[in-house]
């Protein structure tokens, strides 16, 4: 039986936990593929080549010296950002795998995104880099 509180994921940028400023995080991890078909094959054969990464998080905008906005600003364009995501805030394990994305790129961000009557939020996206899944 799995009883899980919804929306309990954690997301770290570098060593900074921004989970409490996020209400949504999605990661898409995979690989690019290359054609390895040779003469005599009766169907295409594919092999994996480079890893692919896409991270998306909805972030509540807060401003200040150690705010999430300042944190993301410092990473924009760096290309060496580390992002760590786990499905829940519990200890990392088989039931709560940890995904570490290294050297990813936050190419753009929206430091101002405000509408009358709404919380000010932005969508942070990151691409590229490499990823590792750990269960301990």
């Amino acid at each position: 039986m799995a009883i899980i509180y919804q929306g309990d994921a954690t997301i770290l940028i570098g060593a900074s936990n921004i989970s409490l400023n996020c209400n949504n995080v999605t990661i898409e991890l995979g690989v690019e593929t290359g054609d390895a078909t040779v003469m005599g094959d009766t169907g295409r054969k594919m092999v994996s080549t480079l890893q692919t990464v896409s991270v998306s998080a909805t972030v509540f905008l807060e401003y200040g010296a150690s705010s999430v906005e300042a944190l993301i600003y410092a990473e924009v364009g760096a290309g060496d950002t580390t992002i760590v995501v786990t499905p829940s805030s519990a200890a990392v394990g088989v039931g709560n795998p940890e995904f570490t994305i290294s050297n990813c790129m936050i190419a753009t961000y929206s430091p101002v995104s405000t509408t009358v009557g709404d919380l000010s939020t932005m969508t942070m996206t990151a691409t590229a880099g490499t990823w590792v899944r750990a269960t301990s």
């Binding site: 039986m1 799995a2 009883i3 899980i4 509180y5 919804q6 929306g7 309990d8 805030s89």
Partner: protein, 114 residues
């Protein structure tokens, strides 16, 4: 008793107990300074998985003076700041027997899979 929904309620009760609160699932035991865990509502995702919503009712002492209000809001804040996934809350009045207790309803969400 076991099952998807009983386990959900037990998980919530355990989380509340871990916060030092007193969860109550039997209405006969509902009284001020406890948190009554109401029966869940759910949306069926598959026969194995349910999207569960549970109302937590933080019960204060009547007639609802400032000290009671302060107590209720402190408990609400404590629950909101925990692992429990609170999605909304609103003040209410709980009818317990013939008594009316100042209370606060919190809606929480759980994914439950058997």
């Amino acid at each position: 008793m076991a099952g998807l929904f009983t386990d959900s309620i037990n998980a919530v009760s355990a989380s509340l107990s871990a916060l030092g609160l007193v969860p109550v699932t039997d209405p006969r035991n509902a009284r001020p300074l406890t948190v009554f865990v109401e029966l869940p509502t759910f949306t069926n995702w598959t026969s194995k998985i349910a999207d569960v919503t549970i109302t937590l009712r933080v019960l204060g002492a009547p007639p609802g003076n400032q000290d009671t209000t302060d107590y209720i809001l402190e408990i609400v804040d404590q629950i909101m700041d925990s692992e429990i996934a609170v999605i909304s809350g609103q003040p209410t009045v709980a009818q317990i027997g013939s008594a009316e207790l100042p209370a606060y309803d919190l809606l929480i969400k759980i994914s439950a899979a058997r």
